[in-house]
């Protein structure tokens, strides 16, 4: 194999990096708006690299919540990375020593996971390092710009940017729904269930993080039972 897999990883990570730049820009604005300093917002982004978890985290910090509450929030909202990491281990080639696994696991995010799992065949560690590089830079840089430049931009621009992260999620899930009935059903069912949790008053006690976990586990289990995926063709 002569192809430079690191460069290919970089290329595949470019879109994610640019997306993160705009999303973390919004995070920077929000964090400073909640009373954190610019430096604090940047440190959080550089050590956490997770949109939903960070947003929930700064909400707890701004309210001077307990450390236990903060840790529990992170555990629940980010528990999906555990499942994603588990899924990725099934595709790793033998270039992953324990040390590399320790580093690369830091970069498991929704989008990086999505791109890595869409990769045909097994995953190489150079590809993974390449894939993580630009999203990490974009995430840290976007937060920095948002934290220090957010005040200059008009409110209308800042609020319009709030949709960017969700649109990116849509861009990840929609294309596969066209070719796979199971994926289409997974997206429809879990979106519907999430809306039920959100709109039905009886569920209002349920924190958003818990609701997402329930949706994910329930829907994935039902789909795995009725639409088991055929893995034979990929391995051939």
């Amino acid at each position: 194999m002569k192809e430079n897999t690191y460069l290919r990883g970089l290329k595949n990570g470019l879109a994610i990096g640019l997306g993160y730049l705009s999303v973390s820009f919004g995070f920077g604005i929000t964090a400073v708006g909640k009373g954190l300093s610019g430096l604090e917002a940047i440190l959080i982004s550089m050590t956490n690299l997770t949109s939903a978890g960070q947003l929930a985290g700064i909400t707890v910090i701004a309210a001077c919540g307990s450390v236990l509450e903060l840790m529990l929030t992170q555990l629940i909202i980010n528990l999906r990375y555990c499942l994603m990491g588990l899924a990725l281990t099934q595709k790793l080639d033998n270039s992953f020593s324990t040390l590399h696994r320790l580093f690369i696991s830091f970069g498991i995010t929704d989008e990086i996971f999505a791109v890595a799992s869409a990769e045909k065949g097994s995953l190489n560690r150079r590809f993974m390092y390449g894939l993580i590089t630009l999203p990490y830079i974009g995430w840290a840089l976007g937060t920095t710009l948002g934290a220090f430049a957010g005040q200059i931009l008009p409110e209308s621009v800042c609020s319009a940017l709030g949709i960017a992260i969700y649109s990116m999620f849509i861009a990840i899930i929609i294309p596969d729904t066209k070719t796979e009935k199971g994926v289409l059903l997974a997206v429809i069912l879990s979106s519907a269930l999430s809306c039920i949790f959100y709109f039905v008053p009886w569920f209002s006690w349920l924190p958003q993080g818990f609701a997402i976990i329930i949706c994910a586990v329930l829907v994935s289990a039902v789909l795995a039972y009725f639409f088991p995926k055929n893995f034979e063709e990929e391995e051939a």
């Binding site: 879109a15 994610i16 705009s22 999303v23 604090e40 956490n48 939903a52 978890g53 450390v67 903060l70 840790m71 992170q74 980010n78 999906r80 555990c82 499942l83 990491g85 099934q90 696994r101 320790l102 696991s105 498991i108 929704d110 996971f113 799992s117 209308s156 609020s159 319009a160 949709i163 960017a164 992260i165 969700y166 649109s167 990116m168 999620f169 849509i170 861009a171 990840i172 899930i173 294309p175 066209k178 997974a186 997206v187 069912l189 879990s190 979106s191 999430s194 809306c195 959100y198 609701a211 997402i212 994910a216 829907v219 994935s220 289990a221 789909l223 639409f227 088991p228 995926k229 893995f231």
Partner: protein
């Protein structure tokens, strides 16, 4: 600031452990088709549940957000890249905000 570093450590520590433990210590190939299928569907289910209905409240105005979401759905259906979908839907939400 000292208080902040305790928060930071707690947040980053939990998040890293969740990612690191299964990724580093799981060395077996999972044989069960059910578990592998389950793991395959998880990201779609997670992202679906995180996007709906929250996307409609992401801009602080349901009308501008709906316009942006419609734009995202159409572009994603035609396989546009992540960045194209994200930027165009933000622009549509912004323009809609100017019109209403």
């Amino acid at each position: 600031m000292t208080n902040f570093f305790i928060y930071l450590l707690a947040m980053a520590g939990v998040t890293y452990l969740i990612r690191m433990l299964p990724f580093t210590f799981m060395r077996k190939k999972i044989k069960s088709v059910f578990i592998r299928s389950f793991l395959y569907y998880v990201p779609y289910a997670v992202l679906g549940a995180m996007t709906f209905p929250y996307i409609f409240y992401s801009t602080g105005n349901v009308i501008t957000a709906s316009a942006g979401a419609a734009c995202a759905l159409v572009l994603a259906y035609f396989n546009r890249s992540l960045i194209t979908v994200a930027v165009c839907s933000s622009v549509i939400a912004f323009i809609t905000g100017l019109l209403i």
